[in-house]
Symmetry: C3
Subunit: 231 residues, 3 copies
Amino acid sequence: MSIDHSFKLKRVFYGLCGLVRNLNYLDKECNSFSDTLMTNLRITLNIKLIFISLNMKAKIGIINVSDRASKGIYEDLPGKAVISTLKEYLVSEWEYEYAVIPDEQNLLEQKMIEMADEKKCCLIITTGGTGPARRDVTPEATEAVCQKMMPGFGELMRMESLKFVPTAILSRQTAGVRNQSLIINLPGKPKAIRECLDAVFPAVPYCIDLIEGPFLITDENVIKAFRPKNK
Amino acid sequence: MSIDHSFKLKRVFYGLCGLVRNLNYLDKECNSFSDTLMTNLRITLNIKLIFISLNMKAKIGIINVSDRASKGIYEDLPGKAVISTLKEYLVSEWEYEYAVIPDEQNLLEQKMIEMADEKKCCLIITTGGTGPARRDVTPEATEAVCQKMMPGFGELMRMESLKFVPTAILSRQTAGVRNQSLIINLPGKPKAIRECLDAVFPAVPYCIDLIEGPFLITDENVIKAFRPKNK
Amino acid sequence: MSIDHSFKLKRVFYGLCGLVRNLNYLDKECNSFSDTLMTNLRITLNIKLIFISLNMKAKIGIINVSDRASKGIYEDLPGKAVISTLKEYLVSEWEYEYAVIPDEQNLLEQKMIEMADEKKCCLIITTGGTGPARRDVTPEATEAVCQKMMPGFGELMRMESLKFVPTAILSRQTAGVRNQSLIINLPGKPKAIRECLDAVFPAVPYCIDLIEGPFLITDENVIKAFRPKNK
């Protein structure tokens, strides 16, 4: 799809989003509105939104932060775990940017900035580097590049991991927003990656709506995204 | 009540508070103290404290942070929800300072500073502006004006809201202390406001004791404030 | 034990640690390795590690932060509570550095730096000074001296204390890492100290492994330390 075409689709898409919002607003304000009319309008608009969002590929950045994986000593299992999980989750179209880099704060910051500002990733997921060891700097890099921190992600992921291991409190993983990108730190172990993603992903599509990113649609049989009605 | 009179009452009040603390201390140190004497002294002092606190009106600041409410597009429901909830909670006398302002960090900071330093509000409650969207800056403004942050409030409110919606982790709401004012961020939706206040308010009166504010008394049938014994 | 001797033991110890890690790695990579051989090697190495760690005394710093205790008005119960709890927990050898200081941020920072950098304490535990009152500055001092903050400790301790009192959210206690020292804030009340230590200590020995400190061994009948297998 050419850039021009995608740009036009995006404008149509946001126009429709606005219409849906206005309908919700009108619905609340005027009790005189016909219920059947409203319902029909909503269904039509939502179908169009889904149709268009399927044509707008979301870009997701995945960064495996690991000294050993970046040298090829370890196989890059965390990155593969994130990709296969997202493939299960998402039914709307998406593509990924990918990187394996060592635990160096400035390299990680550069990579996150590039994925957010140049590659326009709406979601950037890091794996590894969240522990207390000397080389673990992923949370510091995340905080350095984000304008807003989102402590609820780290709290929930630790609470979830605590069900399995008491050392979950050693993970310093966090999340934040840089411009129109949501950045989430995950642990390095494939099993813990899945547990953490399962815990927080239901809130991710709505978060990306709020930062004006693409409309992500999940497979409800795998993970149920939640979007509040009548904001 | 004139300022002079209120000031004298406040001194008497703090003197009595000190006496109660000393009694608790003596009680712990000297086993020779008569139980009945102690109990009588305590009851008398507590009755006096309650009597005096009823004469000292607590000031509570309420700030609805909302671009749309400040322009009159939306009705100011969050502010009304906070006031009606506090009316149910508190039996000691209180009055409120009120403001509706747009999501502008410097305006919000000014308003919080004014309510804390000039209006002497012991408690300042904000609603809205805690999400990840570009215009949401309430937590940033709160952190900028507070000397101490209190992460436990945000953690508990998110944990509570998670029982209802998975998007609770998107709320970045926090709390902190500026001089003798406790500042608490609440979400913007009336239903969530009540849920969050119900969760944290049991700890609020004792927190205000610790920062040397007025003695708040709650209606125990609605919400049970907790004050540890024998600190 | 002379410094030279201790230094050599430490080198042997870390060499053995490396061997155990390599064995785990080999085990994962090569399926051709004999199971029995591996198991025997592991048991031998772990016995040696335990033997050596018993000869390397861990140093633990304990700081009671309290205006009143530092003036001798109160008996130093919090410090005693920490020491007696650690005596129950640890079977590997340890000794403590001890201090009672007033709630002064710069004094507390100096003491933490001294215990971390000069006395080489692998673990520094503070008690008190974590509330919202004007003189409570322990979390601020901790954040000022640490390179990495560990929010999971404070979250879990507050969650645990919330089971007993709703005012648990007023505790701003945190934890962090300065060089090779883990610093943990505890509340000031002996009962709460035990509750908090019971909650977080299972993760402490592995955390100290990760920051390259001594190998702590707990009495599993009292508290079960957790170390993940096959990192």
